[in-house]
Symmetry: none
Subunit: 213 residues, 4 copies
DNA sequence: CATGAATGAGACTTCATTCAT
DNA sequence: TATGAATGAAGTCTCATTCAT
């Protein structure tokens, strides 16, 4: 309670450990992939020793799963709120939804998780179900619900909502993947502005989706 | 002396080996990733021993590069031809182009290469440039050229061509990534028909792209 | 807190390890040569596991270089001191110098290093320069200086000093080589007393070198 | 019998094979050592395939032993003849003996054999006895006999003959070792003229050996 | 006899994990 | 709790040797 009590610093460190380890792990897994990241590097980046890592996570595999869980589980709820609150056109809502997610996720290392999960999911069977339940299905539900709102309000054509929802999320995910793979390499040949590309893609889709006057 | 005498078994094997090894490597790299695939597994899957693999490829890394080269570099040329030959509307051309690629690539394990490259490119700087030169830039050029054709013929709106090209390829790549990651896991919750989804995405985009009458 | 409290076992081992490993490596390299000595044997002989060796030396090659450095670089200095201190005849000085070196080196496994270096130097260009700088050139300088002393004092004939220095060291090196090759094999036919042989050779050379009365 | 018969070329090749293989092996073993020389390199250097090598020698180890046997067994006899024929002073005889051997051996790759044997003899127990019987003991006998001749004729002092013989051979062997180890490395610091050094050493020894007038 | 594709034991090295301190 | 020295299973790659042609 006393913020300047002598042991508060250590106490706080101790409580912050798991979070610090997860952050270090996130950065390294995204940068180098699961296999190429050494446990010791993670520990070192979190400012602790190799042994300490194993006090919090029983294996590198469990650490990886914890990274995935921690970073993605909180995200969906925010989107839900945004959709519930919105009052204007559904196109505007979708633009705002994508912009918000991109800001909250696309610009953070968490966006790189998708890359790592994509690469490793076949080696971690449990992770697949978790990721589907926790990330893919809720995100799909959120976007589908929004598309349905547009259809119900007569703004959008009556197309298969799941497929359309999928189409609307894809550009964002695609951009996130790129940013943490080719985008991180000093390669010459293809430089596109991510935000502009994302906007173009979304505008195209929305225009294709809208009922023509 | 007899020109149709059967080649010796040894001889025939020697010529077939690289192809057999590349196929085994492709399957395993796509399934498990680069790091998680052991050299010996590849050799075994190709029906040879560990040592034999190294008679044909000097390292696992070079084997991987050979897989990329063999499977992707030939595809671009076919697309170029298709575009050169086409005479009808540009929307039809794009639909055909995507359909052809999806058939030639999306339905084969080769589509999984992108997943592996995505995952490994930051540990493999040399590959990044190679992949950009050999795959990304040519594909971008092909689609950009096609979009420009549509603009020139008054079919499409005058939007930034590279970004539009990117948008048109993205659904296909996205689908390929999905197929070889989550799509390959026995997970319940999200089953979409790939071809239908791809068609929906492309139609949305083309409709958004077209000049309205 | 107690300055004479026993250091922890772990701690003490950590400090002793490099020395233990170097000793094991010296013995095995001399006995079997560089290539025929397995890393694991060295580790085992030092009472640790394979992995531990690599905590202290990054490769077998570096271990070998460390063996050379540790065992030979300190010897030259002692000789220098001896020469600086000596006051009697130069013949006596040379006899003492050889006797001291033989005692310090010839009777220890370290004398076998020269054999291993001889055998490996052409596969190990870096070592060649190191060994020349660290061992051969200083030893040559020391003996040359001593011979020159004898010439300056009118004890020795004025012959090319480097060649004479070489001649004076050769018997010792030769003996060291023999001891760790043929001398270590249970072979019948040629048994000579090393010390006596060395003395005879040196006496012959000195007598040939001295100015005749 | 017909020197231009069509098959003589192949015939000669076939008969020459073992010799060609031994020569290639000698060169490579001396250059790189036993372990670092690959069987295939030897075969290639001899102009045959890997398999052919094994038609003539059942293993790399046996090839190595054959190299040693072939190159050294013939040498002693020549020296014996020289000693038997000589009529002048024993010092002159020794100078000639060393000069002849150096010319016949020191300037050829065969001198490098001693280096390889030195390095490997402890890993090839049979070789030790062979080498002692075939090379060391005969050479010692030859030199001892010659020294004894000098003593008998009142030219040399009555010192232990074996030790003196040893002293007289050492410079030559030493020089041979150097030539094929450090001498073959582009190292700066110690360049001596081999022949001059050898002469200096021998002259010193002979002068030390001679009865003073 | 000759070839060279194929083998697989074995070497070096790495690194996730354990555990004495 | 925290440390980091130690372990040893496992992975990549090499190369002596074999054997079908």
């Amino acid at each position: 309670m006393n913020p300047i009590s002598p042991q508060s610093q250590r106490q706080r460190r101790k409580e912050a450990r798991p979070q610090e380890l997860l952050e270090a792990a996130l950065t390294l897994f995204v940068e180098k992939g699961f296999a190429a990241t050494r446990s010791e590097e993670v520990a070192h980046a979190a400012g602790v020793s190799k042994g300490t890592l194993y006090l919090y996570y029983p294996s590198k595999e469990e650490l990886f799963k914890a990274v995935v869980r921690t970073n993605l589980s909180a995200l969906i709820a925010e989107g839900e709120e945004l959709v519930d609150r919105h009052e204007g056109s559904t196109s505007d809502l979708l633009v705002e939804l994508v912009a918000t997610w991109w800001q909250r996720l696309g610009n953070t290392p968490a966006a790189g998780i998708h890359k790592v999960v994509l690469a490793e999911v076949r080696n971690f069977p449990e992770l697949a179900q978790f990721y589907a339940d926790e990330v893919i299905v809720p995100a799909d539900r959120l976007f589908s619900r929004t598309v349905q709102r547009g259809v119900d309000r007569g703004e959008f054509r009556a197309l298969p909502v799941h497929e359309v929802a999928h189409a609307l999320m894809a550009p964002m995910i695609f951009q996130a993947l790129h940013r943490h793979s080719f985008g991180a390499c000093p390669v010459h040949g293809l430089e596109l502005d991510p935000e502009a590309t994302l906007r173009t893609q979304l505008n195209l889709l929305l225009r294709g989706l809208e009922v023509r006057p």
